[in-house]
Amino acid sequence: MISAPDVVAFTKEEEFEEEAYNEPSLPEEYSVPLFPFANHGANPWSKFSGSKFTKDFILISEFSEQVGPQPLLTIPDDAKVSGTFDLNYFSLRIMSVDYQASFVGHPPGCSYPKLNFVEDSKVVLGDSKEGAFAYVHHLTLYDLEARGFVRPFCMAYISTDEHKIMQQFQELSTEFSKASECLKTGNRKAFANELEKKLKDLDYTRTVLHNETEIQKKANDKGFYTTQAIEKANELASVEKSIIEHQDLLKQIRSYPYRKLKDSDFHPYEPECALDQANASVDQDSTTSNPDDPGETHLYARMPSYTPKLIKAKSAKCFDKKLKTLEELCDVYFFTQTLDQLNQIEKTFRGDVCYLLTNQICKALLKQQSITNFLFEDKSVLDEKPAEKQYSGCQGSNQDTVNTKCLEESPVPKVLISLESYKSSVESVPIKMEQEIEDSQEPEVTEPIAFDQENLEYLDADIKGSISSGESIEVLGTEKSTVVLTKSESQASLPIHPSPQVVRSKAVSRRTISEDSIEVLSLCPSESLIPEDFKASYPSAINEESYADDDCRGIHISPSLNPSNVEEMEGNSEQEKLLPVDSACCIGKESPHFLEPLADLTHKHCDDDGVVSIPPQPYRQVDQGFHVNFTDCSSHDDVSGGLLSYELDPRYLSSREASRISLDEYSDSTSYVSSAASTCSETPSPAHPLSHINERHKKKAGQNALKFIRQYPFAHPAVYSLLSGRTLIVLGEDEAMVKKLVTALSIFVPSCGVYAKPVKHWVTSPLNIMDFQKWKLIGLQRVVSPAGVNMLHSLGRYSRYISILDADSKTLRCPLYKGTLVPRLADHRTQIKRGSTYYMHVQNILTQLCSKAFLYAFCHHLHLPINETETEESIVSRRMNFLKLHLGLVNEDVKVVQYLAELLKLQYVQEPVSGINPMLRFDYVPSFLYKI
């Protein structure tokens, strides 16, 4: 294609230099500066071709307490990916923006360690010098041997395109949250296991020490203690303390709130990932064999093999010099799953941002065309709809499916060590433990379990320091942030119940279920917020995988204190967000709140104490958010300047502005904190495992179709046959060739329902009328035998219903076509060269066609009389008038639109449960034979 216009654009400039001399040079102001990176062989559309890497990649880094920030791995795991890009340096950059730089260990005023259930933070960071921009997702994992038991990690999506990061922030955040959640789930399990082992060790140590002390006591009956004895006693005391500490940690980790479950994007086990399932099945083979209680048997089988070790005094706090790897930290299964998820993310966000955006817009628009989109669109795109419904409506029904899956897939660690066994000799206060069946409808069972008082104090201490930030993008607020501060103050001014003994402020932060709030947090440790995810619930079993499952119940206790220590305790059910329970109702009886329906809770937030305890809520109108503003988007010239409508949506501005204020002042010049205010559920998630397969399929089909329309001069009547619902039979001896043709032509076949396209790739048996009713495109084997004659006979018999494309002799027998629509669709002189492009071209025209069909089908007066006196003839003439004049259809094109309209009507009218086959419509029109 010499004449192709794009040749010029790619021609090296030197070749034109001579000519350029002759021409009068342009005035300075009109001349376009040369593309600065042209020498690097990059295309002019790549904005940051100065960067040291070409493709986006995902980097996982750790802030190691020994060596500082260090990169751990990249996805794709290939040295070429990062090129000369300095991962170490970049790790330093991204790790340094973690504002939640976890406060851990012993908080002031408390001698016991505790865990922070720190939410992930999500920030965007840019380094213009490096030409790298990153979405950075920070998370912390627990490690018994680490300082403060936490290991900060971060996952970063690094791209050269700033706009890509900014515009795909929401999607990135959603996807990375899934990955992070998966990691953390695994980590909690591993951590709990580790703690249990440690407790066994300590228990054993205590027994040994105790025995030794007893022996010593017996040995000297002089009435005074030897230094040795005192030492032993001290040691014993420290072990006791250590036991308590670890016991508490175990409780804390087990009490990990299941709030997450309700999160729309929490899917540690991606049901789509076939790979994962394979992994899982391999992983879980041993456990699934016993369906009753897989976890228990699994763990019991393994645990007895662990022999407790004697722990030297002081060794409890010692650090191993070798820190655990990420894989060790979070269970191989979960680790591989996370990697899969990250790989998936990498695949999903591969490519130019324009492409991603177009895809998303396209999908969003398609969703709007709920009436017509079944005709020509991919099932995968449409299938997403129910999937997303699941995501958004995750509170209820979806849970079950996920849960059952989870149950199958992962062993459920049960409590192996009874809490009772750790009961120390310290005076214990009986507290009530409410064992609640997760389904809050069921009656609760109470079960008294003794706890030592100190545990309760941990509780308070824990409450103080832990901060939760929900799923939201946190605006990094400090004391200085003014806008922010008012909010944080409002949170800090929550009712304080002074207790006579300890002055502890307890702020009840009741949150709504929505995680999308933009929150501004103050990090002052003194202002303790009770995070919703830290609940005073102590499940006796870690059942992270069986959240709402009734079989595995978590035990919640609402610890009641002795009257002197009047404190308000929060009893939370896992289903509900921080439900405050009065101390009065906490003592002695089950909290009735558990039984309350969720709907009421949302109201409760505000009126409970008369205190604004809800963080500002952005509008949750995401349902409309994306597509309603599409016109805005399209009018926006700069594609990369923010096409996503939620950015343009004025409704979001208020919240965004708030964030910008703080952003401008306090964030460093390159780091952005974006407030994506929508739940991710509605925004079309580009991550669809099928999408890649489909992409390939589309490309192939497009290519074949392109070949077909170039090769066969009678492509038009063939396509017309398909579009008008006349079954096209591709007849041939060679299966591969027939299948190829069928694939090519299948892109023109309108679907009859929401199921698969009515395409049968290969049939060897004679056809009957049912086949034409069911299939609109059939690949048929030509048999040279008496049976074959029979088959041909039947084809001849049914010739009025079918068009026959003979792939061997290259003939086509079908009705005449003289319209104008198909030539546009299948122009054999088309300049389109790529399969996927052609596919899109076809989709484009077919979508136009669909809209015509929609108009035609849904115009009342075209089908029904305006008044009673009107005759059928006048309606018919009006109808034809409309088709020809308004829709501009010529000749046979009318039939195409009529057929599509008929399909639309059927689809719309159809009862969802009716199993009736679509009828076969046909015309009595003559067929003609086309030859090459």
């Binding site: 041909l792 029904l864 009716s914 009828m919 419509r921």
Partner: protein
């Protein structure tokens, strides 16, 4: 092998080349059936279709299952299991009294020597009668008397509650193959070659009871009587395997013999003559008869004949209407005739009056022309048409319905709703007027839109 493809002809060649059956091009302007719905359910040949009411029909066949269908939507309403063997007869028993609530019953007789009464509204078996000595081959409902008759080796009379009212003695020579109701509480039964007239008389014992008396045996037919149809209160017609068609006076069947003499001799005799020539009785056997007020339509072999009762002669015919034996014909209200055949096709004919009457029929030529079994020898179709024009009317093919892959056993005409055909290929096809269906769908669409309030929402 590829001739059908390469030839590029406009006709379904596979069939038309074998014989000289009149064929229609692919353009069938008058054929309203442009939509079809295949109803699947049966596992064997579907032989019977019976209309229950305006929009329901039942189908039955060799698999012993009875299906109830909705003729509009093609929805399968009920699947009635009860018979062990193939079904030999089916009849609808409409509710009689106006005061009664509408309970539609259907009766089915099977080769397992049972008759089952089904309730069409609930799809349940109402009662099963299994006291027959032989297979019941025909069922007739005498609506007037609110009784039904079953015919096998004897004739039984039953009332609605399935009490056996009376029965005839065992018929030795043959079983009753067809029954037709005649005036004056009489019934004509075809028993082999004989036509037996029975009369129902009120029994002496009770008010409810009936007695059945054999009144007359008519042995005019020389071969088995295949079809029996009542034209009006005054006439009924029988057709036999060798092509005899006899018109009887329904009131006074004794004088019927005389009537037979007035019966068009050419038709009668020529058939017999030709039999001797061709020895192919199938070619002339009268498979089915139907009639309207003035004409009798006979499916004779592969052809269709129209006999006018007034003129007492065949007014129109189509000797090779199908490639194979015509199994069923029916007259539609709009001068149309539908026939179905073993060749798997259904054809729609129109009875048209000829504008100019050609030359008066010459007896000898007439004989020649009416020769049965010669159709295949006639090469030119147009020539044949010219010959046919001697009758004042002609049967014009206006459309054919091709869908079944095997013999079409029967069809039912549901006026507006379409046409239902059943076939040996186990399928039932519902043929519909595409235009009308499209209109109906539009109507439903807008009703649904209104219902859903989508009109406001979307536009």
């Amino acid at each position: 092998m590829l001739r059908w493809l390469m030839g590029g002809g406009r006709e379904p060649q596979g069939l038309s080349e074998k014989s000289s059956v009149q064929s229609l091009g692919e353009e069938q302007i008058q054929n309203p059936y442009t939509e079809l719905l295949v109803l699947k359910g049966h596992h064997d040949i579907v032989r019977f279709l019976v209309q229950i009411d305006d929009c329901r029909f039942a189908s039955a066949g060799d698999d012993g299952i009875v299906f109830l269908w909705n003729a509009q939507t093609g929805e399968k309403l009920f699947e009635l299991h009860g018979h062990m063997h193939k079904i030999t007869a089916i009849a609808a028993f409409p509710s009689s009294g106006a005061c009664e609530e509408k309970n539609h019953l259907i009766l089915t007789a099977s080769a397992d020597r049972t008759v089952i009464v089904w309730d069409c509204n609930s799809g349940r078996e109402v009662q099963k009668v299994s006291c027959f000595h032989s297979t019941v081959k025909c069922l007739t409902v005498l609506q007037r008397l609110d009784v039904w008759l079953s015919g096998g080796s004897d004739l039984c009379v039953w009332n609605r509650k399935l009490d056996l009212l009376c029965k005839t003695s065992h018929l030795t020579d043959a079983d009753i193959s067809a029954l037709v109701e005649l005036p004056k509480n009489c019934v004509a039964a075809a028993v082999g070659k004989e036509l037996i007239i029975f009369r129902l008389v009120v029994s002496t014992e009770g008010s409810e009871g009936w007695d059945v008396l054999e009144v007359k045996r008519l042995a005019d037919h020389k071969d088995n009587i295949l079809s029996l149809v009542s034209v009006n209160d005054l006439t009924f017609v029988t057709g036999s395997h060798v092509g005899e068609l006899i018109v009887w006076d329904a009131l006074d069947w004794i004088s019927q013999v005389c009537d037979c003499s007035t019966w068009d001799p050419s038709f009668h005799t020529v058939t017999q003559k030709e039999i001797k020539l061709s020895q192919n009785q199938h070619e002339v056997s009268i498979q089915h008869l139907t009639s309207d007020a003035e004409c009798v339509f006979a499916a004779v072999g592969k052809g269709i004949y129209v006999y006018n009762l007034q003129m007492k002669r065949v007014i129109a015919c189509q000797r090779t209407a199908h490639d194979s034996i015509v199994l069923h014909i029916a007259k539609l209200p709009n001068r149309q005739l539908v026939s179905c055949s073993e060749d798997g096709s259904v054809r729609i004919w129109e009875l048209r009056e000829k504008q100019q009457l050609p030359a008066e029929p010459v007896p000898t030529g007439f004989l020649n022309m009416w020769g049965f079994g010669r159709a295949n020898k006639q090469a030119s179709q147009t020539a044949k048409k010219m010959q046919e024009s001697t009758s004042s009317y002609s049967l014009e093919l206006i459309g054919d319905l091709i869908g079944h892959s095997s013999a079409v056993q029967m069809f039912l005409y549901f006026s507006e709703l379409g046409l239902v055909t059943c076939s040996a290929d186990h399928l039932i096809i519902l043929w519909k007027d595409g235009e009308r269906e499209s209109r109906l769908r539009s109507l439903t669409l807008f009703q649904k839109l209104e219902q859903n309030d989508d009109l406001q929402l979307r536009f």
